[in-house]
Amino acid sequence: MSTAPGQAIFRDVPAPKRPSLGRQMWSHRTDYYYVAPAILVMLIVIGYPIYYTIELSFFNTPASLALSDKTFNGLDNYVTILTSPVFWKVTWQTVIWTALSTISAFLLGLAAALALHREFVGRGFLRALLLIPWVVSAVAASYVWKWLYHSDFGAIGAMLVQLGLSDQPINFVDNVNTSLYSLIVVNVWKEFSFAMIMLMAGLQTVPDTLLRAAQVDGASPWQRFWHVTFPHLQGVSMVTLLLLAVQNFNSFIIPWIMTGGGPAGSSDIWITHIYQLAFGRQRWGVASAYAVILFIVMMVLGYFYVRALTKGEDSRAAS
């Protein structure tokens, strides 16, 4: 005799709230076949490395990466990092890099989205043109900008001289005071159009009738933007800012190719610093401990990211 799932529980327990987790999972067992391949791949290439990074961060591993010779040294790697002045310098530079890149790219993208929102001839073409930096590889972008910034033959330096803004070509990248900011310009160039398309999509959700009603009521363009458009953009702005912040925090290619973190570490950010520690100086334990700290920071950011996303999910489910 066959019984429907849950029937037995009904007989034995007076007021069951819901079937047990195991039973629920069993009744949904075929659903897992769909996700199993994905989960398997993720476990191998994500779960294992995370576990291994955490383990390595508590060990002193020889430069040759001979794992059998690694020795446990407790929290030494973490102490080394947190007491080193370089850590705080790099952290500060990472904060500047992430905050300035994110805010600039967002504001530039927002302005571009607003300028492109109205229908006009060539709008689609312009949008595609502005998106190209975002599509080309960061490697190509880094080399081009390195050439533009070149201290002797760079186009930007020469242009400033010809426009009379400078007496001689400026050395943008090989200067401890300007290198980080020069790289931020490149980064903003590369990613502002990402913010642009996200916000353009967001602008389409602003009801036209509301804007027209505001116009009829005599609202100025600024008032219309601030009181009608902007509130509608809040959700997509949060997601865009978070994605940009995460991406910038994780930047590697632009600083690595353009300056390698130099000169004198003035454009070093976390990821380039970790890479240098691991693959440049073979300090595997310290680099792993750095990665673990980074991991924790990202978890905090990730919490807000997920919250911003689920908020959207809930509102969609409700509508």
């Binding site: 769909y34 996700v35 533009l148 693959f279 990665a291």
Partner: protein, 293 residues
Amino acid sequence: MTAMELSAGAAKRRGAGGWRWSGRIFLTFLIIFTVMPMAWMFITSLKTGFAAMQYPPQWWPAEPTLENYWRLVDPNGSVGQDFLRYFWNSVWVSTITTVLAVLVAVPAAYAFSRFRFPGRNFLFFAVLLRNMFPAVVFLVPLFILMKALGLVNTHGSLVLTYLTFGLPLAIWLLKGFYDNIPIQLEQAARIDGATRFQAFFLIVMPLSTPGIIATSIYSFIGAWNEYIYAYTFLSRHDQMTLPVGIQRFFSENATDWPGLMAATFLMSIPVVVLFLVLQRYFVRALTEGAVKH
């Protein structure tokens, strides 16, 4: 209409006109900012090594030449041999990665979109969270793993690691597309006697083709542009992909800038063309998950 009302109307129009003009001026500057580096890349690639190293620079080469491009695509020269090899390595790695990512992501995304199994949210956010972590967190252990598996200096190491970022992204993008396909369509098919798999293959798959195309382009471009793993795992020249391979044009002392610019230009063409042809899908896929209509 009184004079006062008239002037107020004119002022309003002027105000709107002012906004429009500032918008135009802003767009003009933005376009110059965006295009100038790409243009300079192309202009430099048309110069000889001598013409590139001049101050003030030739804003347009006095004697434009395609010499740098011929050198790159000449299968008989050493530069051409290397460049073409990097190019095919990139094509090969990106294609395999894309095919695998989409094959694995389609069922997973469908399940995340349709089924309500326990742990669904947890697993989905675990997938999403992967995108938050930089390659560096995974780099050392993956390097050790690849060494242990004997995959260092092979394309297998790249395909495997590219799946770590390609797969979560593909699942996320595809889920957005499946969410927008009304479940009623499948239910109707089921009532008409289709099995779950038939409903999926006959109803959902055809409708999600744009999503699959967009996801594929996205994966392809991601793999094509990837640098950090390729830079770490590959040291043999015959295995290198383009982003790593073009380093050979660069050295601190005697960089062949025109050659490098020609190489970066050729490297950018496939992704830019793919993007321009299919940008409608591409933009939609990207914004699908973030904007709720």
